[in-house]
């Protein structure tokens, strides 16, 4: 006698995952497929009459004729390295401090996590006011303590524009590392630190031989996630400088935004997005291979 199909236990797992598969297909795979498809077309909303299949022409143009593209790669690399390094170091230090027992720890933790809860646009407005040449608090403060003798246009000055935007994003990003590191630190058994101390180890040894090995997978994952997020960061840079002055803060993601959204050139913008996707995929793969992510767990 045949079992009714919905009573077939082999089908049950597929039924359970089908809503997720459907949603992911609709909201991730379908748009991705569209991006790949558009990248092979000349598709500019301003020139509907010129829409046509151009094969790999957009990619050839990116790598052989686009004067801006290589510049944006340099800015993007600089941006990702600065952000991930600075956010990781300060996030780790913050987590170590917040992991100690002290009075008001709860309040301190809440305050540290606050920037993470502020939206990108709000953070940009906040920082654009702080950096304002005429009414900004930063100029006022620096003038009062004598660090500068005249107001500086932090976002318009070639020497400071990149670092000014980077600091604003750093402020917003540190809590992510602090939260995840703190959560991981709290899962480390205290006995291990005790053993380390009994063996004559200092606090630094405890950090070197207990904390870091335990946090390894966490560090690899968070730095990878942060790299991806920073690579495609748009909101803060777009709102603070729009990629300027000149192209000094134009990352690849800002360039994609300007091409696809502002210029309405979805074909070329999609090709840039595909290039960006392949870069990220390769970088993530190499990073995970180099750091042997999850290997120890698999070996156990």
């Amino acid at each position: 006698m045949h079992q009714k199909w919905y009573k077939n236990k082999r089908l049950t797992p597929y039924l359970f995952i089908s809503p997720a598969v459907l949603l992911i297909s609709a909201f991730l795979f379908y748009p991705m497929f569209n991006i790949f498809s558009y990248s092979l077309w000349q598709y500019n909303l301003n020139k509907p009459y010129a829409t046509m299949f151009v094969g790999l022409n957009n990619f050839i143009q990116i790598f052989t004729q686009d004067k801006i593209f290589y510049g944006t790669l340099g800015v993007t690399a600089r941006w990702v390295i600065v952000q991930v390094t600075a956010q990781f170091i300060f996030g780790m230090v913050t987590a170590l401090i917040l992991n100690q027992n002290f009075k008001g720890r709860g309040v301190a933790r809440s305050l540290v996590f606050l920037p993470w809860s502020i939206s990108g646009v709000l953070a940009s407005v906040l920082w654009s006011l702080i950096y304002n040449e005429h009414i900004g608090v930063l100029n006022d403060l620096f003038l009062k303590i004598g660090l500068i003798d005249k107001s500086v246009a932090w976002l318009g000055n070639t020497s400071f524009s990149f670092m000014s935007v980077a600091i604003a994003d750093f402020w917003r990003g540190v809590p992510f590392f602090a939260i995840t590191m703190l959560a991981a630190m709290q899962s480390i058994p205290m006995e291990l630190y005790e053993s380390c101390r009994i063996d004559g180890g200092s606090a630094i040894s405890g950090f070197r031989y207990v904390t870091l090995p335990f946090l390894k997978n966490n560090i690899v994952l968070t730095t990878l996630l942060c790299s991806v997020w920073e690579f495609k960061n748009v909101d803060l840079i777009y709102n603070l400088t729009g990629g300027g002055p000149g192209y000094l803060t134009t990352t690849l993601s800002i360039y994609i935004t300007n091409s696809a959204v502002n210029d309405k050139d979805f074909g070329y913008g999609s090709a840039l997005a595909v290039v960006s996707f392949i870069f990220l995929l390769l970088a993530s793969f190499i990073y995970l291979r180099l750091t042997k992510f999850g290997k120890e767990e698999n070996e156990v």
Partner: protein, 464 residues
Amino acid sequence: MKKKAIAIVMACIMVMALFTACASTAPAPKSEPTTTAATANNTTSAEASTAAEPEPAVKTPADYTGTVVYWQMNADPVRNDIYEQHVQGFSKIYPNVKVELSNYPANQTLQKIDLAAASNDMPDACDLGLNQVPPYALKGALVPLDDYIANWDEKDDILPALLENQRKYFLDNKIYSLPLNAQLGILWYRPDLFDAPKTWDEFYSTVEKFTDTAKKTYGFSIRGVNAAVNDMVFMYAYSGITDFFTPDGKCTINDPLHVEAMEKYFGMYKKNTPESDITNSFKEMSAVYDSGTAMMILHNTGSYSDHLKTLGPGKFGAARIPKPINGDYLVDIDQGFGGYVMGKNDNPNPDSTFAFISYLVGFEAESLRCKTLGIVPTNKKVFEEAWAKELPQYQLVMDALSSPDTKLVAPPIYLPDYNKICTDIADKGFQNVMLGNTTVKQVLDDMASAFEKANNEYKAMAKK
């Protein structure tokens, strides 16, 4: 044989009917355009249907009939309410015309009109941005309004520059829209401190005189982002050149006088202007003026309420940009926002459609709309109202756009690449000029060559 004879008779009747229809295209009475004149550019079915019924010599509002489908393409609660009132006002005058109003948000304009144009289902009328009108006219989706305007009693109420200058935007030199509202580049200055500069020498000497970096005050504030119109005003107003392209298709933007103008203009950067100007859009630029940091800025009438709120009466004034160095006239860049257009379709009552869009730019409707939305009228009678007379910048716009001494340059905003050239080449290029990374001549040469290429593409598209 009998059948053949009937067929010949029928054919003769049809040919005669056709001649009769053609004969009805005789000149229309001056008061209103005839339906046939209006449909000269309309579909064949419309011609046939309207030609069959002879029109009365002079139409009264009660003679207008049918339905007008109007798409308002800038929907928001305030505008929707205003247009409802326009429809009601129109219905009182034209009781036999029914207006079907639909409101669409601005971000749906392209999608809706593209679809309508592609499926030959254009609305009878709608409002479009100035950059959108020429491409749809080129596609044959719009009705030229020249015949209607020629027979329109109230055409002289509209600021003449706004109607006539439109021809520059269309390859067939016709008029396709009735202007939505007027706009002009205004030199906002400080009348409490100095008189508005009348010449370029006076302008630069005033800028120099009122710069005091120790006190953090500057003679001027440059717009660094989305600044193409400001840049063009400074170029063309200085040179006196009035055409963007020469008849042989050469772009005039890299004329040596423009290079000279922009070298002087960007020569002010950091010397007589704040350093942050390089990343300033209009809001920031306006704030620099309103805070008393900069003595002058170039912006349109839109920032009036900010100046009034922050600087207060008497401390800000509106002036025209100086005359060209070699000319005794004034040049400005056309900054109109768009207009009311008639879609090409088979509506048998195009006269009623024109009656509606001409009502929209008439005194009653425009007064309500401009007063409520704070936009500059196009109808001279509206400028005479008490509320408009209280606004000095409005009078400035009216005087300027009524004067034969004002020449308007029509930037090719209809080119598909216009915005890309303005942001990617002009904005970024001039930012690099301010940073000392490139020269004004290089940027203007790049702009000229990009505009020429885009214009050639546009013309090629028109021929297809």
